[in-house]
């Protein structure tokens, strides 16, 4: 019997509230961003080097570099929390561990569903901006949105995996949340120290394209095709962190 479907359903029931709030928030930013652009374009102004299409610069500043990307990073970290450590606090972990499936499958189902949710959140601006921009007769290049969606998924998967590991390492759910937020902000600062500063490892920059060779700041557009090697590295990193979480969960005492 395939046990993955019920486990995915269990993981969905546990995280759906957070996921739906995240979808609503990102959707609100994208929709109001397009329909309220007359007012908001005065607030979200591209930097001085920008010489391209004002609408493209504004959407980049609001969504792909700015507020929406920041919220996306926070949301994917919140989505990763929970699982067995939280069930232990709620005294329901015994029921879950008594299910006729291994711990590895339990954790993998949660990770799989979470990554699916990260993918949907990453693709959300593409879907909404494409439709809303059409409605108000402005346009943002579809290929750009798809490429940013891939970058968001790659960066989001790593943020998700870090928070997923943090939720396993800390017994307090709020400590795990604090540690995840700390990672999100301290990690780019750590990358300024040599020898790390030689490499393009800043996830925030990777997701927004800022200071990356595949992004032109003057037009706020990605140049060339998607950076597949970088994206593959991000997915592998996320996979390794999730594998580490599985290993820790397999040997942890939840009594």
């Amino acid at each position: 019997m395939n046990t993955m479907a019920p486990l995915l359903f269990k993981a969905w029931r546990e995280s759906r509230g957070r996921f739906l709030i995240s979808v609503a928030l990102l959707a609100a930013i994208c929709v109001f961003g397009v329909f309220g652009r007359d007012s908001l374009m005065k607030v979200f102004v591209p930097d001085e080097r920008f010489v391209g299409n004002p609408y493209v610069g504004y959407i980049y500043r609001l969504v792909y570099k700015g507020m929406a990307r920041g919220l996306f990073a926070i949301m994917v970290m919140v989505l990763a929390l929970g699982g067995l450590p939280r069930e232990r606090l709620h005294r329901t972990v015994g029921f879950t561990l008594a299910l006729p499936v291994s711990r590895a499958r339990l954790v993998l189902a949660q990770a799989l569903l979470g990554l699916g949710q990260v993918a949907i959140l990453a693709a959300l601006p593409l879907m909404l901006l494409a439709v809303c921009s059409q409605l108000v007769r402005v346009s943002y290049p579809l290929q750009q949105m798809a490429c940013f969606g891939l970058l968001w998924f790659g960066g989001g998967a790593v943020f998700f995996a870090v928070a997923f590991l943090s939720a396993t390492l800390f017994r307090s759910e709020y400590a795990a949340l604090a540690a995840s937020f700390v990672f999100m902000i301290l990690y780019p600062a750590t990358l300024l120290f040599p020898p790390l500063n030689r490499y393009p490892l800043n996830l925030h920059h990777i997701m927004s394209g800022l200071a990356m060779p595949y992004f032109d700041a003057r037009t706020a557009l990605l140049v060339g095709g998607p950076p597949w090697t970088l994206l593959a590295s991000l997915v592998i990193t996320a996979g390794l962190l999730i594998a580490l979480t599985v290993q820790i969960t397999r040997h942890r005492d939840y009594l």
Partner: protein, 248 residues
């Protein structure tokens, strides 16, 4: 006893927050030469500290950590099955709420003070100086505005079920407010922009030499007073909701 309970519940979060802020301030000070050398235009040390700590990443970190400190409470304890023990303590619900709020506000104030201790202390090691009085001014702004952020998360933790919903609601509310504060009619009143007040733009003259005697003059006391009222309003509403809520 209540204070000790509240401390036990939040001490790991507080410790993580304190270590993270200290690390962030240390990194900013120690990396100053390298970052300033790569800046687009010449950057004075005071301006660098302002843009790296008081205006940017360290402030974001502080806001997120303050939100996390505001989480918890009896509603979350109900999900863990321990609310009954807390509510059966020989203390009223207002006292329970007051103790948690007071402990949280104290932690928010201590976190706000950390950059003021760390930056002037570390600056001589990199051949620079940063006046303690100037750093203290920013700490007052962080503490004053951070308490509103804390009160917001505290309020949501009492009205919203789920461990993480209050955090998401707080982040969302602050993000929306920061946009609205830049638009008319709120945009015409700079004192109403919480994040800009925390940035301390009006203090960032970068001339150094601010003395303790001059501390009171340039701080936006009117805005801070307004935020204190908002904070008290949020905490009072949270206390009233908590007093009437059925936790069975």
């Amino acid at each position: 006893m209540l204070w000790y309970k509240m401390w036990r519940e939040s001490r790991i979060r507080f410790a993580i927050s304190a270590v993270a802020l200290l690390w962030m301030c240390s990194a900013v000070v120690l990396l100053q030469q390298q970052v300033r050398a790569h800046a687009d235009e010449p950057l004075g040390y005071a301006q660098y500290i302002w843009s790296a700590i008081y205006k940017a990443n360290a402030l974001d970190l502080y806001i997120l950590l303050v939100i996390v400190l505001g989480l918890g409470g009896v509603l979350q304890e109900r999900a863990q099955g321990t609310a009954g023990f807390t509510l059966s303590l020989p203390a009223g619900r207002w006292r329970l709420t007051g103790a948690r709020a007071a402990m949280g506000l104290l932690q928010v104030a201590v976190l706000a003070l950390l950059p003021a201790l760390m930056i002037p202390l570390l600056s001589p090691f990199v051949g620079e100086a940063y006046p303690f009085a100037h750093a203290l001014q920013f700490s007052v702004l962080w503490a004053g505005c951070g308490m509103v952020v804390f009160a917001l998360a505290f309020f949501f933790s009492i009205v919203l079920p789920g461990a993480y919903s209050p955090a998401i609601a707080s982040v969302a509310a602050l993000s929306i407010y920061s946009v609205l504060a830049d638009l008319p009619p709120l945009g015409h009143h700079p004192a109403l922009d919480l994040i800009d007040t925390m940035h301390g733009v009006q203090l960032a003259t970068f001339q150094g030499g601010v003395s303790l005697a001059a501390l009171v003059a340039p701080l936006p006391w009117q805005a801070l007073g307004l935020y204190a009222l908002v904070m008290l309003g949020l905490l009072g509403t949270a206390g009233a909701v908590m007093a009437r809520r059925d936790f069975s």
